[in-house]
C-alpha cells in the first residue's frame, strides 16, 4: 500500500528543497550582489544590499571587450555540442540496439577517459595543437571540447535510447526504412527530450570548461572563461570587478537554463519512473 503524503510532509519537503536550493544558489547570488557594489563596499564585509552602482560593469567592459569573448563562448559551446551529437547519436544507437559482448567495456572505457586529470595530457595536446596550427583557433578548441564531453554525451544518449522499445525500430525496418531513415525519422523524434537535455547539458559543460579554453587560446578564440580569469588579481582587491565579470559570463547560460529548465528536468529524469 502506498504511503499517504500528508500536507505537513509536503510542507517540510518544500521548505527543505528551498533551503538546499538557496544554499546552492547563494554563491552565485552573492556574486551578482557584489557586482553592484563599489570596490570599497565589496571588501567591507558581508552585506546583502548593494549601493547599486554599475561602475564595475563599465570598467570591465572598458578593460576588455565582453562581446568577442561572448561570441567565442557561443560558437565553441554550440559548435562542440553539434559535433558531439553527430558522433554520439549513431554510437549510442549501435550500443543500445545492437549491443555486443564488449559494449559495456567500451562504455566503461569511454567513461574512464574522464577520470584522468586533464593536466596529465597538457603537453602532448599542446604539441599536437602547435604542430597542426590549431593553437588559438576556434576549430581546434571546438574539437577539443567535443572530445572532452563525448563520453558523457554517449552515455546519456545510450541511457535514453535504451528506454525506447526496439520493436518500434523493428517495425520501421519491416516497413522498409533504411538505417539512416530509422535513426533520423524514427529514433531521433522519439528521443527528442533526451537529445535536448543532453544538448543543453553539453552546452553548459562546454560553456564552463576552463582548463583547455584558457590554456589553448590567446586572443582570437578566447571565450568567457579567459575573460573571467583576466580579472583575477594577485595583488589588489578587485572583487566588485571580478564579480561583474563573472556575472556577465554566467548570465547567458543562467538565462538559457532558466527558460529550458522544464526540458532539462524532463530529460534528466527521463526513464526514472516506469
Amino acid at each position: 500500500m502506498a504511503r499517504a503524503v500528508t500536507t505537513q510532509h509536503k510542507t517540510i519537503a518544500t521548505v527543505a528543497a528551498w533551503i538546499v536550493a538557496l544554499l546552492i544558489f547563494f554563491p552565485i547570488l552573492y556574486t551578482i550582489i557584489t557586482s553592484f557594489k563599489s570596490e570599497q563596499e565589496a571588501i567591507q564585509g558581508f552585506a546583502l544590499i548593494p549601493s547599486g552602482t554599475f561602475e564595475s560593469y563599465s570598467e570591465v567592459q572598458a578593460q576588455s571587450g565582453y562581446f568577442k569573448f561572448f561570441l567565442n563562448s557561443v560558437i565553441l559551446s554550440v559548435g562542440s555540442t553539434i559535433l558531439a551529437l553527430i558522433i554520439a547519436i549513431p554510437a549510442a544507437w549501435s550500443m543500445a540496439f545492437s549491443p555486443t559482448k564488449r559494449t559495456k567495456d567500451i562504455l566503461m572505457w569511454m567513461l574512464s577517459t574522464k577520470m584522468m586529470p586533464a593536466v596529465a595530457v597538457l603537453f602532448p595536446i599542446y604539441l599536437i595543437f602547435r604542430d597542426t596550427g590549431l593553437l588559438d583557433s576556434r576549430v581546434g578548441l571546438m574539437v577539443m571540447l567535443m572530445l572532452i564531453n563525448l563520453p558523457i554525451v554517449v552515455w546519456m544518449l545510450y541511457t535514453y535510447f535504451r528506454e525506447i522499445p526496439g520493436e518500434i525500430l523493428e517495425a520501421a525496418r519491416m516497413d522498409g526504412a533504411s538505417l539512416w531513415n530509422e535513426i533520423v525519422y524514427v529514433l531521433t523524434p522519439m528521443a527528442v527530450p533526451g537529445i535536448a537535455s543532453t544538448m543543453l547539458l553539453n552546452i553548459i559543460l562546454a560553456w564552463n570548461e576552463a582548463f583547455w579554453t584558457i590554456r589553448l587560446t590567446t586572443t582570437e578564440a578566447a571565450p568567457l572563461t579567459a575573460f573571467i580569469s583576466s580579472f583575477s588579481s594577485p595583488q589588489g582587491l578587485f572583487w566588485a570587478k571580478l564579480s561583474a565579470a563573472s556575472t556577465l559570463a554566467i548570465a547567458p547560460i543562467l538565462i538559457m537554463g532558466w527558460f529550458s529548465q522544464k526540458q532539462l528536468v524532463r530529460g534528466l529524469t527521463f526513464g526514472a519512473v516506469k
Binding site: E39, Q40, I43, Q44, G45, Q63, S64, L122, F123, Y126, L127, R130, L135, D136, I214, R215, T218, T219, A222, A226, S229, S230, F231, S232, S233, P234, Q235, G236, L237, F238
Partner: protein, 436 residues
C-alpha cells in the same frame, strides 16, 4: 572614370600593402593596477609605431606562469612579449629561452635601472628582461596604534621590537591584531615571506653542496618565532591569508602591522579604499643584527621569448613600456602616485614623485637592502632572496609551504614540519641530481 578607377585601385593596393606590413604582437600579462594602466596608455605607443598592433592576453598569475612556461618550453610561439618575474628570468635565460635585450634604443638608459633589480634580471652581465615594476617588502604599521602602545617605530626595526610592538598593539576585544603576516601555502605566498624572514635569522635553504638546511637551528628559530608571533598576535585563520586577505584586514583597520610587498603601500594609503589611509607609517623589514634583513626583491618584467618571429617589434614595445618616457607619460595622465615603482633610480630623485608617494624613500631603501646574488648570511649556491632560482623550487617551495602552513594552523608541530621539509627537500634535490 578610368582615372578614378586607377586611383582607387592604387589606394586599395597601398592600403593592402600597409596592412600586410603591419605587425601584431601578443603580450601576456597579469591583472594588476600598473599593467591595466599600461593597456589604457598604449595609444601613445601605437601612435609612435603605427605599423605595430598590440594584442593583450591577461591571465591570473599562476595560470600565466603555467601558460608561458608551456609555450616557451614547447616553442609554441603564442606570445611575443611575456610578463615574468625575477624567479623565471635567470632560469629561462640559462636555457636560452629568452632573447637578450641589447637593442632597447640609445635613449633607454639601462644604467638608470636600480642595480639590485637589474642584477636579478641579468645573466652573465646581459639583461634578459626589462623591469616594469619592482618591489621589495617592508613594514607597514598604524602610527596611531603605535603611539597608543607608547612605542616609536625605528626606521630599521629588529624582530624583537616587532614582537614587543605586536604584543602591545593586539586588542582582540576591538578586533585589532598586532601583526598580519602571510600564512597561505605557496612558494610565492607564505614561502616568499618565510624565506626572506629566514635570511635575517641566518638560515638558508641549501648549503654550498645543495644539502637542505631545515634541520639546522636557524630554521627552527625562524619558524618557531613566526608561529609563536602569529599565535599570540596574528589574526584568526592566518594559515589561509595571503597578500589580498591581509590587505583587506589592514585596510579595515584590523592589523597593527603588516610586513608585505612595498607595492601594498599605494593601496593602504589610498583614502578611496583604505579606512586607515592617513595613519600608515613605513619601516624597513626587520632584522636580527646578522647583516641581512627579512625583505625580498621582485620585479614584474617584460621579456621576449626566443621563439618569436617579431623580435624587433617586441623589443620596441618593451623599450617603450619600461622607459623613462613611460613614467613621464603615466605621471602626466594619471599623476605621479600612479607611476610604476621600483625600476629606475631617476624616479626616486624626482621631487614630485617623492611628494606624491610618501613611501618612496623606504621602498628604494628596501629594494637596495636586498641582494639576490648574496641573499643569506652564510654562503649559498643559488640566486634569489625569497626563492631559489632552480626549476625544482616551484614544486618544492609549495610542498614546504604546505608543511609550514599546517604548523601555523596547529595541525603539526614546528619540529615535525621542519623534519618533513628536510625529507621533502632532500628527496627533491637527490632526484634533481643536485646531491650525488
Amino acid at each position: 572614370m578610368k582615372l578614378r578607377t586607377l586611383t582607387l585601385g592604387l589606394l586599395s593596393a597601398s592600403a593592402l600593402a600597409f596592412a600586410a606590413h603591419a605587425e601584431s604582437i601578443t603580450i601576456a600579462t597579469v591583472n594588476n593596477g600598473d599593467m591595466v594602466r599600461m593597456q589604457k596608455l598604449t595609444d601613445d605607443f601605437t601612435k609612435k609605431n603605427p605599423d605595430i598592433q598590440l594584442n593583450w592576453v591577461t591571465l591570473e598569475e599562476n595560470v600565466l606562469r603555467e601558460r608561458v612556461t608551456t609555450d616557451i618550453a614547447t616553442k609554441g610561439g603564442q606570445y611575443d612579449v611575456m610578463t615574468i618575474g625575477t624567479y623565471e628570468v635567470p632560469i629561462w635565460a640559462k636555457q636560452s629561452w629568452l632573447l637578450p635585450l641589447d637593442k632597447l634604443g640609445d635613449d633607454y638608459d639601462t644604467k638608470d635601472i636600480i642595480p639590485a633589480i637589474a642584477g636579478g634580471l641579468s645573466v652573465d652581465g646581459k639583461l634578459y628582461a626589462a623591469p616594469f615594476y619592482g618591489e621589495s617588502s617592508f613594514v607597514m604599521y598604524r602610527k596611531d596604534l603605535m603611539e597608543k602602545a607608547g612605542l616609536t617605530m625605528p626606521d630599521a626595526p629588529t624582530w624583537d621590537f616587532i614582537k614587543q610592538a605586536a604584543d602591545k598593539m593586539t586588542d582582540r576585544a576591538n578586533g585589532v591584531n598586532g601583526v598580519c603576516l602571510r600564512g597561505k601555502a605557496g612558494w610565492g605566498e607564505n614561502m616568499a615571506f618565510l624565506t626572506a624572514m629566514s635570511n635575517s635569522f641566518g638560515a638558508r635553504w641549501f648549503d654550498e653542496n645543495w644539502k637542505p638546511q631545515f634541520d639546522q637551528p636557524e630554521w627552527k628559530n625562524t619558524l618557531q618565532f613566526y608561529v609563536d608571533l602569529m599565535k599570540a598576535d596574528g589574526p584568526e585563520g592566518a594559515s589561509s591569508n595571503g597578500f589580498n586577505e591581509n590587505l583587506a584586514l589592514f585596510q579595515q583597520g584590523k592589523c597593527g602591522m603588516w610586513i608585505d610587498a612595498t607595492v601594498a603601500a599605494s593601496f593602504v594609503s589610498d583614502p578611496k579604499n583604505s579606512t586607515v589611509a592617513d595613519k600608515v607609517g613605513y619601516a624597513l623589514a626587520p632584522d636580527n643584527g646578522l647583516g641581512k634583513r627579512g625583505n625580498w626583491l621582485w620585479a614584474w618584467s617584460l621579456a621576449i621569448p626566443a621563439g618569436t618571429q617579431k623580435a624587433e617589434a617586441a623589443e620596441k614595445f618593451v623599450s617603450w613600456a619600461t622607459s623613462k618616457g613611460y613614467l613621464d607619460l603615466v605621471a602626466a595622465k594619471e599623476g605621479w602616485a600612479n607611476v610604476p615603482p621600483g625600476t629606475r633610480t631617476s624616479l626616486y630623485n624626482n621631487a614630485e614623485y617623492q611628494k606624491a608617494a610618501p613611501f618612496a624613500k623606504m621602498t628604494l631603501d628596501s629594494i637596495n637592502a636586498a641582494d639576490p646574488t648574496h641573499p643569506t648570511v652564510k654562503p649559498v649556491p643559488y640566486v634569489g632572496v625569497q626563492f631559489v632560482a632552480i626549476p625544482e623550487f616551484q614544486g618544492l617551495g609549495t610542498t614546504v609551504g604546505q608543511l609550514f602552513s599546517a604548523a601555523l594552523a596547529g595541525q603539526s608541530s614546528v619540529d615535525d614540519a621542519l623534519k618533513q621539509a628536510q625529507d621533502a627537500a632532500t628527496a627533491a634535490m637527490t632526484e634533481g641530481g643536485y646531491i650525488k
